[in-house]
């Protein structure tokens, strides 16, 4: 089996992540931040250690690291937390549904609205397209760090400057970028939302909302936090304000081990490794297989390592199913990002997404290339 669906979730997980998860299940069984007994306090310490690792990774204070269930959860907390009646949000035309759906839902209520900025291959133009949509009611720019369909990286530092200039919040969906491209709050990003189970190599069911604390967010979930229990109001103090109910303790602890893995490998080496594998696949298809369509003109460095492609006129889901039968696991369809597919011209068939990880090797990719060549020879006419 060769797993190439790492943009959905990385697999396999590093052995220390598995060991950490298992240790947490065995040794950290108390509910953190609730009781004062030894098991609860030891679990709380283990969670804090992981929180600190996440904080250092993104250049935040530990209390500003909120453990969530996934990136979508984090984005909902940020997007619905930043708006007030009459608010206006700006997003891009390549967003995942994790951004566009909560933005769209928020815009149905209280006179809220949103605008979609057109992204292009020209950074200046992209930044201008965002800035010209800002008005007096704009509360935030919410956009992806990198498209989960095309891999395109948005000019985050420049967009952060625009937000700072207009005193609005800059929220990013870092699901595809975290662990692959460097990003810190010091880049001017106010809120980083990310999955824990993708480029950070943590378990599924983990995510993060990391804030610089400059923008107060209202809550969309309230409940028990183990603190200020006599008060009926949700606490202001972070992370308690956004961590009502018991968190995924074992997942949060194991996420710390995932961050250790990324730190040890380094983001730069992971990026270069995965990028070289994408380049290998891209060049083989572009040069030697005219029946395969890859959706970028060249394989540039301003994208996270993934390659969308289709085999002839075959539906992408069908192509992914044929690949699966041969032991290659990839995702076809729209990857929950129809806007990006519309922009790429694949709104009818979607695309198969080649997404390697730190564990993928050149042999895996060569085998995969052979499988794509076999399928394209047998099943398609030339494009």
């Amino acid at each position: 089996m060769v797993y190439l669906d790492n943009a959905a979730t990385t697999y396999p997980k590093p052995i220390p992540v598995i060991a950490s998860m298992s240790r947490a299940m065995v040794n950290y069984g108390g509910n953190p931040g609730r009781a004062g007994h030894k098991l609860s306090m030891e679990t709380a310490q283990a969670v804090f250690t992981s929180r600190l690792k996440c904080a250092e990774f993104f250049g935040a204070e530990p209390e500003n690291v909120i453990f969530t269930l996934n990136c979508t959860h984090a984005l909902n907390l940020a997007i619905k937390g930043i708006i007030s009646p009459g608010a206006h949000l700006i997003t891009s035309d390549i967003e995942h549904n994790a951004v566009i759906r909560p933005v769209h839902a928020a815009a149905k209520e209280n006179g809220n609205s949103y605008s979609i900025a057109r992204t292009t291959n020209n950074e200046d133009e992209t930044v201008r397209n965002f800035e010209k949509l800002i008005n007096a009611r704009t509360k935030a720019i919410v956009c992806t760090s990198a498209s989960n369909v095309t891999g395109k990286i948005l000019p985050l530092k420049r967009l952060a400057e625009v937000c700072k200039k207009h005193k609005i919040c800059f929220i990013i969906d870092a699901a595809q970028g975290a662990g692959v491209i460097p990003m810190k709050l010091s880049d001017g990003i106010n809120i980083i939302c990310t999955a824990g189970h993708k480029g950070l190599y943590g378990p599924m069911g983990t995510g993060l909302m990391i804030t610089d604390g400059k923008f107060r967010l209202r809550t969309i979930i309230e409940g028990g936090t183990g603190s200020f229990s006599k008060e009926i109001e949700q606490p202001e103090v972070l992370p308690d304000r956004f961590e009502s109910g018991t968190i995924n303790t074992c997942g949060a602890i194991a996420l710390g081990a995932g961050i250790d893995f990324v730190n040890e490998k380094t983001i730069d080496r992971i990026y270069r490794h995965e990028h070289s594998l994408c380049e290998l696949f891209y060049n083989e298809m572009k040069l030697n297989n005219k029946k395969v369509k890859v959706y970028t003109d060249t394989y540039e460095h301003n994208r996270v390592p993934l390659v969308p492609f289709n085999i002839g006129s075959m539906d992408s889901t069908e192509a992914a199913a044929l690949l699966s039968k041969q032991g290659f696991y990839l995702r076809g369809g729209f990857q929950c990002a129809y806007m990006a597919h519309k922009k790429m011209g694949t709104q009818e068939v979607g695309a198969v997404r080649f997404a390697p990880s730190a564990f993928t090797n050149r042999h895996d990719v060569m085998m995969f290339i052979k499988a794509v060549n076999r399928i394209s020879t047998k099943n398609t006419k030339a494009l």
Partner: protein, 66 residues
Amino acid sequence: MALIVLKSMTEAGKARYHLEKFKINAIVEKLTLPGGGCGYGVRVKEDPDKVCRQLSLVNIECVEIR
């Protein structure tokens, strides 16, 4: 030993982490907040005022010293 009341469990963990760097041993404890309700703090052997001054250097506010 003095008990320094802090704003949250996470803040208590952060306080312990920074105090270790200052070679001050601190134990995180669950306690009741002023006015009631669950809270957390750190128990230290050192002069609590001095500890609070150290904590203020890393933006941790001592709510109360017991």
